[in-house]
Symmetry: C2
Subunit: 247 residues, 2 copies
DNA sequence: ACTTTCTGTTGATCTGTGTCAAAGCGCGCG
DNA sequence: CGCGCGCTTTGACACAGATCAACAGAAAGT
């Protein structure tokens, strides 16, 4: 069986601004037509909570534009971000009813949703959709476990460098700019959100960003626009071993 | 389509000491017979590395007896345990060739293995096996994300309490002893392994275990045998909100 | 233009956990 | 038996990052 690598529904999901990378694309069977019928769009404002932890979640979705975060919360209010949803990312847990964490829009965001039940029925009938979803879930699991290494063992400076590396890589792979070694990108998170993702406080984040700037590893055009003169230096600051992706 | 909840191969996998909870059980189709043919057992000694990060891994397996750990390593040698394999747990990444982390036997361990290629072929043919595997992967993802909260935001004492809670819960659900509120179990990890799992040093682990003992939250029969007089107290020490499982 | 609010920076101080070091078990092995 | 080795405990001290606090700039509302 060949695995396709493109969008969830069709090669030309004409009314989606992006081609969802979520599930399998190149199939034009009846089931996909079925699924088209239960597709709908939702948009949310920056700061809005899309789903609360424990809520019944009756859809799965992929991000069309904007950014959202997955956050877990303790009784006393401490929070830890456990995932970041960027355009083309998939969210939703087929087979599960309750959301395991809060999903919060960081910027204004548009999502392409599918009602869960029909989606699950499609999965049961067409194995390759399930396969693709399993692959995606394994990717998320890998990412989560790398993040565990970061949270448990990296210093504040390494954490910041790692986060910047990831954002930079995502940005570069979407915009595929020519120059691979020096690049400028937009950091779509507040210092507070970064702290939340990295298991730090916002003050520590601010200090370490300043330190990286002072040491010439990064430059700040404005507070949210980062220029990296030499990606290799940032990578070594991150403390990762041989990085798979680009760079 | 009904989802089964028992073992990977059959209800009576006669030569496996346990019933694997790994995949789907109650099916008696030809495919399962096929799979029986590629099943084999491997045992490893305590301390032995079963797979190295980056190695080609040509099998999937479930743990029959014993314990293993999943560990990620940085260039400079810092390590973070990202998962714990207890009896009936599944390990392996269908569709992936390389292991993403080291798998190390903590105790002597026996695993029931299946050659990966035939296993994948089975998955492609029988959707419910893939479904089950997706479910299991989602469970692992949930566990990983809860662990991220622990690593990023919990204090050393809370970390210890959380770990004990998890081991206790696993133990209780396997042995289903009558008394739910007070129980004794075996902690199959060295202080060093605990530290590795919790993102701490072994000295801190030792100190916090002593502190919990002094405060009467736990009692130590010997260094590896823990008695919890009142599970509720341990739970509140762990800082978790409303716990799903037993307890 | 003025205030308010939100975001980010920087400083001073405190504290939890890491680091380094020593010593106490318990157990297998010669 | 006693020796050595792996695991654990405990102590003294250092330091990274948290906490508390003040302030600066930018955007938004009045």
């Amino acid at each position: 069986m060949t695995m396709h690598d493109a969008s969830i529904i069709s090669q030309d999901c004409s009314d989606c601004p992006i081609r969802h990378r979520a599930v399998c694309a190149k199939c034009e069977s009846d089931e996909l037509t079925q699924l088209e019928e239960v597709k709908y769009y939702r948009s949310f404002q920056a700061g809005q909570t899309i789903v609360f932890q424990g809520d019944r979640m009756d859809f799965v979705a992929s991000v069309v534009s904007g950014i959202a975060t997955l956050t877990q919360t303790m009784e006393d209010g401490r929070t830890q971000m456990v995932g970041l949803l960027l355009p083309s990312d998939f969210v939703g847990r087929p087979g599960r009813n309750e959301a395991a964490y809060d999903v919060v829009a960081t910027t204004d965001i548009v999502m392409c949703c599918f009602r869960k039940r029909p989606f699950e029925q499609l999965m049961a009938k067409t194995p390759h959709v399930g396969q693709r979803l399993l692959e995606m879930t394994l990717d998320e699991l890998d990412a989560a476990r790398e993040w565990m290494l970061l949270l448990g063992r990296k210093t504040a400076r390494e954490k910041i460098a790692s986060l910047l590396t990831i954002i930079a890589r995502r940005d570069a792979s979407l915009n595929l700019s020519g120059d691979a070694n020096s690049l400028t990108f937009n950091l779509p998170l507040t210092r507070d959100a970064m702290a939340d993702y990295l298991g730090l406080t916002l003050e520590t984040v601010s200090r370490q960003v300043s330190a990286l700037k002072k040491d010439g590893v990064i430059e700040l055009k404005d507070k949210r626009t980062i220029h990296v003169p030499d990606m290799q230096i940032l990578l070594s600051e991150a403390g990762d071993d041989a990085d798979g992706g680009i760079f």
